[in-house]
């Protein structure tokens, strides 16, 4: 029991978790048919990459990796605001959120 408590986690496990989360995000982007859920899959991919950044920042004792994650968060917040506004505008014009039905650029 003591050996489990004192054990450390290999860095590669964090990276593997990040890779799996990214792949799940890509998969969600492909199979989900709702515009909002597709957008959530993009957020999942951003988070997976953030985990990689924090892991490498920890490994190399670099603060800049964490600052990059901070910038990614800010850009993701801006992206979420603009993206959801676009979703509202699309819904107002089309009255649907299914990505199969939103196939024209013009309103």
């Amino acid at each position: 029991m003591n050996s489990i408590l004192s054990q450390e986690v290999p860095i590669s496990w964090y990276l593997m978790l990040s890779a799996v989360l990214f792949s799940l995000g890509v998969l969600g982007f492909l199979i989900k048919r709702n515009l909002i859920t597709v957008f959530m899959s993009i957020e999942l991919m951003l988070n997976a990459v953030n985990l990689s950044f924090v892991t490498f920042a920890h490994q190399w004792h670099q603060v800049r990796g964490q600052i990059f994650v901070f910038f990614v968060m800010m850009v993701a917040a801006a992206e979420a605001a603009v993206g959801l506004a676009i979703i509202i505008a699309v819904f107002r014009a089309r009255a649907t959120l299914a990505v199969d039905r939103i196939d024209l650029m013009k309103l």
Binding site: L30, N34, M40, V63, A80, A81, I88
Partner: protein, 176 residues
């Protein structure tokens, strides 16, 4: 302790991500995403990034997910209809996902000298972080604030009705 916490919250993370894919209602997907982001905040804390853990909870699981659930409720989004998607997504997309995961996993498994992460070493304090951010990376920080300002203006301009547009009779009668 580190190992137990890692396994617990990595499990939460993966379960939330898989649940996001399996749920058919957007609100359930949004709540699963909250679970993923909060678990990631704990993993950041395990890696010594205390400021980012707090920012992750406040910005992601707080602000962004509130925005998501707000839009889901505003648009009254129902269950999504199950379609198989485009043929290109099936033919190219799914093998591409497998290839991406395979390449990343091979790289990670074969990488040498990655080492281990432990709780004790190298906790980055907010002071260290802000010293680098405000001394060396001040220009990118200010540029990002301009980006956020533009994003706010863009979101307001996109989401409201056009100026010249007169409200239709349906909108005029509907209770606000």
């Amino acid at each position: 302790m580190h190992l137990i916490l890692f396994l617990l919250f990595a499990g939460f993370c993966l379960a939330g991500a898989i649940n996001l894919l399996l749920q058919s209602h957007p609100i359930n997907s949004a709540l699963s995403l909250v679970v993923v982001m909060t678990s990631l905040a704990v993993l950041y804390l395990l890696l010594g990034a205390e400021f980012l853990a707090a920012a992750q909870i406040i910005v992601y699981s707080g602000a962004i997910m509130v925005l998501f659930t707000f839009v889901v409720m505003l648009l009254n989004a129902g269950r999504e209809e199950r379609t198989l998607g485009s043929r290109a997504a099936r033919a190219v997309g799914f093998p591409a996902v497998v290839v991406i995961l395979g390449v990343l996993a091979t790289l990670i498994v074969h990488a040498h000298g990655l080492g281990v992460a432990s709780l004790s070493d190298a906790i980055t304090s907010t002071e260290d972080l802000s010293r680098v951010l405000f001394r060396e990376l001040l220009l990118p920080f200010e540029v990002t604030s301009i980006l956020i300002l533009i994003a706010i203006l863009g979101a307001v301009a996109l989401a409201r009705h056009g100026d010249g547009e007169t409200p239709t009779s349906e909108e005029r009668t509907s209770p606000k």
